[in-house]
Symmetry: C2
Subunit: 126 residues, 2 copies
DNA sequence: ATTATTTTTGCAACTATGTTGCATTAGCAA
DNA sequence: TTGCTAATGCAACATAGTTGCAAAAATAAT
């Protein structure tokens, strides 16, 4: 059952994600942590942080994978049914933590998780 | 203003997409069209079909890009605000053309397009 | 039908993103 | 301090997508 360990890479990466207002991509992390660790390590740390429920993963509308800290779901139900907003101008992806769309699936579909991203212009870019 | 041309590749690719019940990936197309054209051509044809509004693009929860024919929006408003269902078992992505989630953005955000994908188990796999 | 024009294609080369195996390093508990 | 094993670095690989350019094919003009 694999004990988790606290390492420099993990600490710095988590800090960076938590201090970012918008979701960050692997390349953002790599740029900010210049030389702290290998790019493969970043991938592996991200995997761990996901599994430990400290961050969540967002696939942007253009396929770019980004990560954001978990706020609303600290220790409780780890559900991310909020909307993500992707700005077409500044390319920033932000969690709209309080906004959860309403919909109902047809019979016979079993829902597990959702991935809602809307795009347009953010308040700063409109 | 670039006239569009009808070519074998384009015809076959569009047919394949239109005949598929689920959304298809580039690799699916390549597999089905074995040797009809180069893989680069597939990318370029897909781009054109998108621009011509004959298909739409879906980024799956795991980042895999897929394409589906347009049904509800033939000539009219080209809006894709319906939900896509991604089955975790059979990996098929299907358009739930009639289901459109309700939500409201905070002031100052300008909505342009949406990308809603929910995952779980489809009727066949549940 | 022939020719001319321009879109489309194939190919090769390249970039970006993510993965895997394996030897080495470093956390942490005993 | 020692021992165990999680975590890392590095190299190599895999996959998806892009770009430039010459050749081929589709359509328009003659
Ligand atoms: Mn979020
Ligand atoms: Mn669809
Ligand atoms: Zn913006
Ligand atoms: Zn299924």
């Amino acid at each position: 059952m694999k004990n988790v360990r606290k390492t420099v890479a993990k600490t710095k990466i988590l800090e960076f994600i938590q201090n970012s207002k918008a979701a960050v991509a692997h390349s953002d992390i790599q740029a900010s942590l210049k030389g702290v660790c290998d790019r493969v390590t970043i991938y592996r740390v991200l995997e761990r942080l996901l599994k430990e429920g400290l961050i969540h993963k967002i696939v942007d509308v253009d396929g770019v994978v980004k990560y954001a800290a978990c706020h609303t779901c600290e220790n409780k139900f780890h559900q991310h049914n909020h909307i993500h907003f992707s700005c077409e101008k500044c390319k920033k992806v932000t969690c709209l933590d309080t906004i959860m769309p309403v919909f109902n699936l047809p019979q016979n579909y079993i829902l597990n998780s959702v991935n809602f991203t809307v795009s347009g212009f953010c308040p700063k870019c409109k």
